[in-house]
Symmetry: C2
Subunit: 374 residues, 2 copies
């Protein structure tokens, strides 16, 4: 969707996103307290990303829980467009997905859309896109997914299976539907026109591999919603499969002013491969909700609601609810100044990335164990 | 193309086809005497399908011969849409292709477009289409292609390699180009929109497998021409490959009145799996260029030019040029009546099919040896 002040599509997120409005306009359901209490029963303490409403919306998540409570296993499906290195914004849905895998014992099918990234970006070679499939997979594995229950695949390298599913989806989707859902035109290349069928295919992959209908839950940022709404959920009943359920997250903001963290503004994105000194520099240069001068800030207080630094604590880097509340209060009161706040965050991020990079390095030894091949 | 009295597209051939006009409208070159003499130098006696102008048109076949004469090997590429059993009309290009393989020592890449047939025909299941991939492959092998130089592949089962090539083609082809070339609309499913990229992919497959640019020659009925003209030949230079060359054949007519042999009129098509009594019945029921009564025919003579029975002798079943000329003369003179002429043809076809079916049966033992898999 695209209107007054913000744009949310699979390729672009701009402006201050009004998430309540996305729920209304996309026709999704809010992740309400009742549903969260139900999750808590199964997971113990509610995950930070649920508690803080980073995941805030869903489709049929209640149905997934119904199925689970009746003893039926569900599968998780999420993915990544491998056009470059992973940044910490990408990790948000993966962290929750890992948590769900652990707590619900679910298999994960993880799609690397190297075809889409190549088709979409005129300057990207197929070789580069495939290269980042494997680079990014190291970050996926570093999130702690379970070997034997986690199946990563490249659209290009796993096409033997995917293409056969995708043509079944494609047979039921007209060009005009794809144009309406994604805003494509006759100038769009035919690979992009077909790609939604490839992205829908993994919704049915667990069912095909198991030979029985398997419920699928897709945790992903809400900009991907129209793939599932307009294609996979439309086609599922025609092919005899369950409609895939979704959990929608907000976007981790970039370190600049407004918008999600994006590879198109690399100085405002923290990459998982960034060395500590680069992290420090990026965080210390971040846009904040601070005032023009120290005096003003002491007098008026900071504005955490528009501050990416505050959002980083809130969404990812301060697990203690009380502590994050204190950051909010001391910022608002003018006690906490931006320099100190950023220095503390930089320290948190460096520690987080040091751990991640250690696991990422280890993942190189068993990368292929996580990949689906035929 | 579609105009006054006849239609020729990849999905439909109707009416009396004016082949001279197709050459002009498609912008191809006639296979002239000079070129045929050049072929003869390499093949010895000119093949019946060249001599009788069943193959009548080309693109860049002279360039293929240039390359060959300079010592550069070329590859052959042709294919089949496996929507049902093979009929003898399908065999025409395969017979010439086998001859070219034998005389020029060329590798053959043979595409089974099970994806296209499934996507195009609402009533066809993917399973059935894939089933006929392997059924039809038996007929290909029965034509005498050389093991180790002949690589058959199913679009679905070989997608691991094909899809990666097809996305490279697709990136350079807009939806409006595909609409213009194939007459597709926004109601066309997105699989059909993408499929031309899959059909173009094998033009570049030999080059990719060999790691060097390989000239490719495509012998096929002329209704397939717009695939190569509108897609593969457009994209080739952008991807750094040679443009594929083509040899175009006429259509073997059906046994009814007008039009090519077509599975949509099964009583007028002779299938390679038809038993002898069915062949006899179909041939004896054929439409002919004969007159309403024997008396009239004795007086006026028959009309071989509009007679499928005569065309079968001419295109396939009477290799002796003198003998085929005699059939023509004795038909025109009213000496040869249709009953006798059909009975003789039925005998020829039965013998042809008995041989073919024997080789087809033997092919079952080494079917997989001819298939490309990854």
């Amino acid at each position: 969707m695209s209107n007054e002040g913000f744009i949310v599509t699979p390729w672009e997120v701009r402006g201050e996103v009004d998430y309540e409005r996305l729920i209304r306009e996309f026709g999704t359901q809010p992740l309400d307290e009742e549903l969260l209490r139900r999750v808590e029963k199964h997971t113990g303490t509610l995950h930070l990303l649920f508690r803080r409403k980073v995941f805030f919306s869903h489709r049929d998540f209640d149905w997934i829980l119904d199925k689970y409570e009746k003893g039926e296993e569900f599968a998780l499906y999420t993915g990544r467009g491998p056009s470059g290195h992973t940044h910490i914004g990408h990790l948000v849905p993966w962290i929750l997905t890992q948590h769900l895998q652990e707590k619900f014992g679910a298999e994960l099918y993880f799609q690397m859309t190297d075809d889409e990234k190549y088709l979409h970006d005129p300057s990207l070679s197929l070789k580069t896109s495939i290269h980042f499939t494997y680079e990014n997979a190291l970050d996926v594995i570093a999130c702690g997914f379970e070997k034997g229950k986690t199946f990563i695949f490249s659209d290009i390298h796993y096409a033997k299976t995917l293409y056969g599913i995708a043509v079944q989806v494609a047979k039921h989707i007209t060009t005009s539907t794809i144009k309406a859902v994604f805003g494509f035109t006759d100038s769009t290349n035919i690979g992009m026109i077909f790609f939604p069928a490839i992205q829908a295919a993994p919704c049915f992959l667990p069912s095909i591999l198991k030979g029985k209908n398997v419920p699928v839950l897709i945790p992903a940022a809400i900009d991907q919603d129209n793939y599932w709404r307009g294609v996979a959920r439309e086609v599922a009943p025609k092919l005899g499969f369950y409609k895939p359920a979704q959990l929608h997250s907000k976007f981790l903001p970039g370190l600049g002013r407004g918008g999600k963290m994006s590879a198109s503004e690399p100085e405002t994105a923290i990459y998982t491969v960034d060395p500590p000194e680069v992290v420090t520099k990026k965080v210390m240069n971040a846009y904040t909700g601070g005032r023009a001068t120290v005096e003003e800030q002491r007098k008026l207080g900071g504005q955490p609601e528009i501050c990416p630094v505050y959002h980083y604590y809130h969404m990812l880097f301060e697990p203690d609810d009380k502590a994050v509340g204190e950051i909010h209060i001391s910022c608002r009161s003018g006690n906490l100044l931006c320099g100190e706040c950023k220095a503390r965050l930089a320290e948190r991020v460096r520690r987080f990335l040091a751990d991640h990079q250690r696991r990422r390095e280890k993942a190189k030894d068993h990368l292929q164990d996580y990949f689906l091949k035929d």
